[in-house]
């Protein structure tokens, strides 16, 4: 039997591509080493956000009395890691079942095992040779291995999701959204985490404003953040100048590296990732690479979009090229979300731009929810006021960013933002207010 397409890896790039391929009637095989749903479902997007939701709930319930809810004895509150983890895993199980159901429905076949790519038309798995027209590599990425000599356990998110207890004084190692989320998680649940940021910036790819916000906030909360300083780790002791921190575990949130499947011929790589063209083709004909493994982005939604794109290509449809307008979300407290260009990118490109800001402190709904920490910033060019970038720091920023993304995808300007009627009271009103600022008609300012 010959397949039309063999997809290696069942994360958000591979599993989405498989569903679409099955729907389109392609004979489709997915080969996955271990996890249906990949990192996203098993230890990334879904479980970590579920853990953060537990942590935010735990943190928030401490202020129940101020909302008029009596009977919560805050001194008796404690965070149950195992229960939070199991809740996360049950969400994972439900979603994995969903994917498996959809695969079955669309006649996608699955083999569990490690694939070896002999050529674009021959893939080996479990000592069996599979013939195919196309191969899609969607094997994802993993954090760089930590080379620190230490006596404490070192684990990554993948391992952490298997653990029945977690350290109470963990060292979160790494920069980027995942590190910040993990540090935030431990802080919210009353652990004593230390965040070691080995290199700048704190959040690569995000606006300096967001980076400054995170650093300032940790400083204000007097949290242990090691940034831009010399440090040494001996045994369980982290020394930074005169300060010493005792740690009992390290969460490795290092920058990610491509996971390359075994291949007879390695396609051209770029900084360790598989190099692809704008149609996600590798240097070997009929072999595509999508998701983290091509190094373009390590966001699940971008991986899925690439998966759909490649299946369209294989079907002979010339899809619209991906616009590059997609949100980057961080599920910390408060959430941080960004779409489009950063202020630094605009400065560098020489575009005349303006920044229009609106603070959540002046927003009714944010005050009602007792969560008015945050800001919304619209970056627009000055001539037509086309929106080029939006940064939101707010409790529900990760959902609010959808409006900004839609405006940008439709090439909207600040005039549309200002003229779209936003319901009152909602936190989304800050978007309209920032739009009014952009067109020099500030209202509540």
């Amino acid at each position: 039997m010959k397949y039309d397409v063999v997809i290696i890896g069942a994360g958000p790039a591979g599993y989405v591509a498989a569903i679409r391929a099955g729907q389109a009637g392609l004979k489709t095989l997915v080969i996955e080493k271990r996890y249906t749903g990949g990192m996203c479902l098993n230890w990334g997007c879904i479980p970590t956000k579920a853990l953060l939701e537990s942590a935010k709930f735990y943190h928030r319930i401490k202020s129940a009395a101020s909302f008029g809810v009596n009977g919560i004895r805050t001194e008796e509150l404690s965070f149950d890691w195992e229960q939070a983890r199991q809740r996360a895993m049950s969400i994972r199980d439900r979603l994995v079942k969903g994917i498996e159901y959809l695969w079955k429905k669309h006649a996608v076949q699955v083999i569990t095992g490690e694939a070896i790519i002999h050529s674009a038309h021959e893939v080996e798995v479990n000592r069996q040779i599979i013939n195919t027209e196309h191969v899609i590599i969607a094997t994802g990425s993993k954090p760089e291995r930590l080379t620190i000599d230490t006596k404490v356990p070192v684990f990554e998110l993948e391992g952490m999701m298997q653990m029945h207890s977690v350290p109470s004084r963990p060292l979160v190692y790494g920069n980027g959204p995942v590190a910040w989320e993990m540090f935030n998680f431990f802080s919210l649940t009353d652990s004593q985490p230390v965040w070691l940021i080995p290199r700048s910036p704190v959040l690569p790819g995000l606006d300096d404003y967001a980076n400054d916000f995170v650093l300032k906030r940790t400083r204000k909360e007097k949290q242990n953040v090691i940034y831009d300083k010399q440090w040494t780790l001996k045994g369980k002791t982290l020394s930074v100048g005169d300060s010493k921190y005792e740690i009992d575990g390290i969460v490795n949130c290092s920058l990610r590296q491509a996971v390359l499947p075994p291949m007879d011929e390695t396609p051209v790589l770029e900084e360790g990732f598989i190099k692809v063209d704008e149609d996600f083709r590798t240097s070997i004909a009929d072999i595509y690479a999508i998701g983290d493994v091509n190094g373009i982005s390590n966001l699940a939604h971008v991986a899925s979009a690439q998966g759909l794109y490649v299946i369209n290509r294989i079907l002979g449809v010339q899809p619209e090229h991906l616009t590059g307008i997609y949100p980057i979300n961080i599920y910390s407290e408060p959430e941080i979300a960004q779409v489009g260009k950063t202020e630094q990118q605009l400065k560098k490109s020489g575009i005349d731009y303006q920044v229009s800001e609106y603070n959540l402190l002046a927003n009714g709904k944010a005050l009602i929810e007792g969560n008015a920490e945050g800001v919304l910033r619209v970056l627009s060019e000055t001539k037509y006021k086309q929106v080029l970038g939006v940064l939101i720091i707010a409790p529900d920023a990760t959902d609010m960013i959808a409006e900004a993304t839609a405006i940008m995808e439709l090439e909207g300007t600040a005039y549309e933002i200002a003229h779209i009627i936003h319901a009152h009271p909602t936190v989304s009103e800050v978007f309209m207010e920032a739009g009014l600022v952009a067109i020099d008609q500030p209202l509540h300012k």
Binding site: Y384, Q386, E411, G412, Y415
Partner: protein, 433 residues
């Protein structure tokens, strides 16, 4: 009642005009149909008639001012009604200062606008809401477009309806506007080339372009960019035609008719076009079809002090040589005075340029786009030719022709030329059929 009259859209894609002459002044009574102002537009000087009877309260703009279509040009008092508000509207929008008159609300689409917009007229009844005669302009087609594309098109003076959209469902995107190379974009594009560094000295003089020169420039460039020009040249011995014309010239001159060669040439061209219809056609790329025209409206290039103008002899196929001669004389005289109407410049299907009357033998004429062919007639001259093995003096007429090779192939032009030259060589054949 006060009545605000706006510079109407008189068609042909004109968006502005220059005030050439005021016929009326403040306090003067006018009747409906009386000329109010003479406007110089792209192609013609046109009288703008008053749509209403009344008294002139105010005129907007001085001679030489540029007026956008849609700007208020005059305010009339119409007996028996009053309306302060009308005046208020007029104050806001005087002519000559209203660059963005065509578009008032947000990023509206630049397009055909009504001759009298909302609030231009505050009637006590519905009377007068239509302030100008029907222009025949088609209703604007609304295209999908993104907000920034609309802003950009407005900024560049482009009609977004004319831009091909490549976005979802044909949406016009920013990229489409940036890549648009329509007639309106030509001037914008030409600015991108480095301009010569002109410092005012006594050695040079910078003269602003007239409306007409701008239009000619646009049209010529549009033709060259939109068609695949190909030219052929030949000459024909027209001794018999010369004899024929000489025979009747004096007779018609007595009747005040100047009989030139051109009416004969027009007749020969029409007969040849009938044999080769693709040269009297138009290419419709959007619908991927050739539109053959069953009428022969022949444009005649006329040189005027302001520049080239091309009036059209409508249904020339139904006119005799003498009728053609009469009409030529009339159109040409009025072109010189710029007294042609817009209608007389429209709907040509084929063009003849007779530059030989000034000088020149062969030329490469530019097609009057969207037509597909143009005929150039050079100077008639005597040349030695070989006839029956003898060198004799021939009366040679050089013919040049440009066609749009997208739909007319070389062989077809050659066949057209054979027929056309045949008619000129033996002119009686033109009258036998």
């Amino acid at each position: 009642m006060k009545y605000l009259f706006k510079f109407p859209d008189i068609g042909e894609g004109l968006t502005e005009g220059k005030i050439f002459k005021w016929y009326v002044e403040k306090g003067q009574d006018v009747k409906a149909g009386d000329p109010l102002v003479e406007m110089e537009t792209d192609k013609v000087v046109a009288d703008i008639p008053s749509p209403k009877s009344g008294t002139v309260i105010k005129t907007y703009g001085n001679i030489g001012d540029t007026v956008q279509v849609g700007s208020v040009i005059i305010e009339l008092e119409i007996a028996g009604v009053d309306g302060e508000a009308a005046q208020a509207v007029a104050q806001e929008k005087p002519a000559g200062k209203t660059e963005h008159q065509v578009e008032e609300k947000n990023f509206g689409v630049v397009g055909t606008i009504e001759s009298a917009g909302e609030g231009a007229y505050l009637p006590s009844s519905n009377e007068g809401l239509q302030s100008m005669p029907e222009t025949g302009a088609p209703a604007p087609r609304k295209v999908l477009s993104t907000p920034v594309a609309r802003a950009m098109a407005k900024d560049r003076g482009l009609d977004i309806n004319q831009i091909k959209g490549t976005g979802p469902a044909g949406r016009v995107t920013k990229k489409d506007v940036e890549q648009h190379r329509g007639a309106g974009a030509i001037f914008a594009a030409s600015h991108k080339a480095p301009l010569p560094d002109f410092h005012p000295t006594t050695l040079i003089e910078a003269v602003p372009l007239t409306q007409m020169r701008k239009t000619i420039a646009k049209n010529m460039l549009l033709s060259k960019q939109s068609t695949a020009h190909m030219s052929v040249m030949d000459e024909v011995e027209v001794g018999e035609l010369v004899a024929l014309r000489d025979k009747y010239k004096a007779k018609y001159a007595e009747q005040g008719i100047k009989l030139s060669y051109l009416p004969f040439i027009i007749r020969a061209a029409i007969l040849s076009l009938k044999l080769h219809p693709v040269l009297n056609a138009e290419l419709d790329m959007e619908n991927e079809q050739i539109v053959y025209k069953k009428y022969y409206n022949i444009g005649i290039a006329v040189d005027t002090p302001e520049g080239l103008i091309v009036p059209v002899i409508k249904h020339a196929e139904s006119k005799s040589v003498i009728e053609l001669a009469n009409e030529l004389a009339d159109l040409s005289a009025r072109a010189q005075e710029r007294k042609l109407t817009l209608e007389e410049l429209r709907t040509g299907s084929f063009t003849i340029t007779s530059y030989g009357s000034i000088g020149g033998y062969f030329g490469v004429p530019v097609i009057n786009y969207p037509q597909v062919a143009i005929l150039g007639i050079g100077r008639l001259s005597e040349k030695p030719i070989v006839r029956d093995g003898q060198i004799v003096i021939g009366k040679m007429l050089p013919i040049s022709m440009s066609v749009d090779h997208r739909i007319v192939d070389g062989a077809e032009v050659a066949r057209f030329m054979n027929d056309f030259l045949g008619f000129l060589k033996d002119p009686l054949t033109m009258f036998l059929e």
